[in-house]
Symmetry: C2
Subunit: 199 residues, 2 copies
């Protein structure tokens, strides 16, 4: 069968390393970059190099970090005594944007998923366990997603915290503020009902 020239073939292979990009999309991306956005291709190449060289992970909270001092593990946040566990960096950012929390985080970079080979070790739970055992943590706030795997992860984390006598809470799930009941899905509504609070 006929194939593209070597460098073009390699570029398509390179683009296929991106999650969610299949052979057809990778071709389309390669043609677009080469034909219409060589500047964009050069920019992407540069940002990849800079990111690989400069972005690591915080040794305390596991968030992506490019400075010696993690900006989510400042002394003020550490002294708050709480850890909020999230599945990924975007979840951390969403909570930061709400400005409702000013303690530390712990970023799992995933959720428990035995079928995909993601267990406690892959999520760095040994590190979290040490932090819970340090005696400096008064509350573990679990903010994993309300999915089957997120709930299973929450359950596992709660057991860990109880083993260290640390108070555990889970962020509330229910009808979004401003949301209309008739447009809210059944699962969310049943969560909202079972989590009802006295007025």
């Amino acid at each position: 069968m006929s194939t593209y020239s070597p460098r073009l073939t390699r570029l398509i292979d390179g683009l296929r390393r991106l999650p969610g990009v299949g052979p057809k999309s990778a071709q389309r991306m390669a043609f677009h970059l080469l034909d219409r956005d060589r500047e964009g291709a050069a920019f992407l190449g540069k940002t990849l190099g800079e990111a690989l060289e400069g972005i690591g992970r915080c040794k305390t909270c596991r968030m992506f970090c490019e400075d010696d001092a993690c900006r989510f593990c400042t002394p003020a946040r550490v002294s708050a005594g709480s850890i909020c566990v999230v599945e990924g960096p975007a979840d951390l950012m969403a909570i930061e944007a709400s400005t409702a929390y000013r303690g530390r985080y712990f970023v799992l970079m995933g959720r428990l998923s035995p079928l995909d080979g993601i267990g406690p070790q892959e999520l760095g739970l040994d590190l979290l366990s040490q932090q819970l055992a340090s005696g400096e943590i008064t509350e573990l706030i679990i903010a994993t997603n309300p999915t089957v795997e997120g709930e299973a992860t929450a359950y596992y984390l709660a057991e860990m915290a109880r083993g260290e006598n640390v108070k555990v809470t889970r962020i509330a799930h229910g009808v979004p503020m401003g949301g209309e009941l008739e447009y809210v899905d059944g699962g969310t509504l049943s969560h909202a009902l079972s989590g009802r609070q006295p007025l």
Copy 2:
């Protein structure tokens, strides 16, 4: 609002230069590369650099080309006297894979689309016009896609060729070989009927 660290923000911007990649996908790609496939990120960066440095366009057929001699414009192909016009590199490859054609190509890298600012000049039709006027071309085979824009482009190309007294043909559209009538869409069926041939 809280934002990602500078290099991570730039990497997400870089990934957004890829066609079809929005802010959420770009984030997901960046996290995946940084957390699980740094080797893939390095490979992609390398292939981008190599491609930008080494891949150009053939001055005759406009196909992507990384050598001095375009492998689709060999003397043997040129002497065949025909040009097959396709919209993009993937179309050229599909025809090559069929092994049914051994003449030259002309790759438009697009189709006429006035609303998107894509006119004859963007598709290199001045170059094709020169080739048709050279007296060496006996047939222009139009293999643009059977879409509204592809058909409009075919019509425009046919007029150009007639102006130079070059024979024009259009590849046949109809029921795919092995396709079952009941699963073929109405547009294709009506094409197949109007293009019927005596047996």
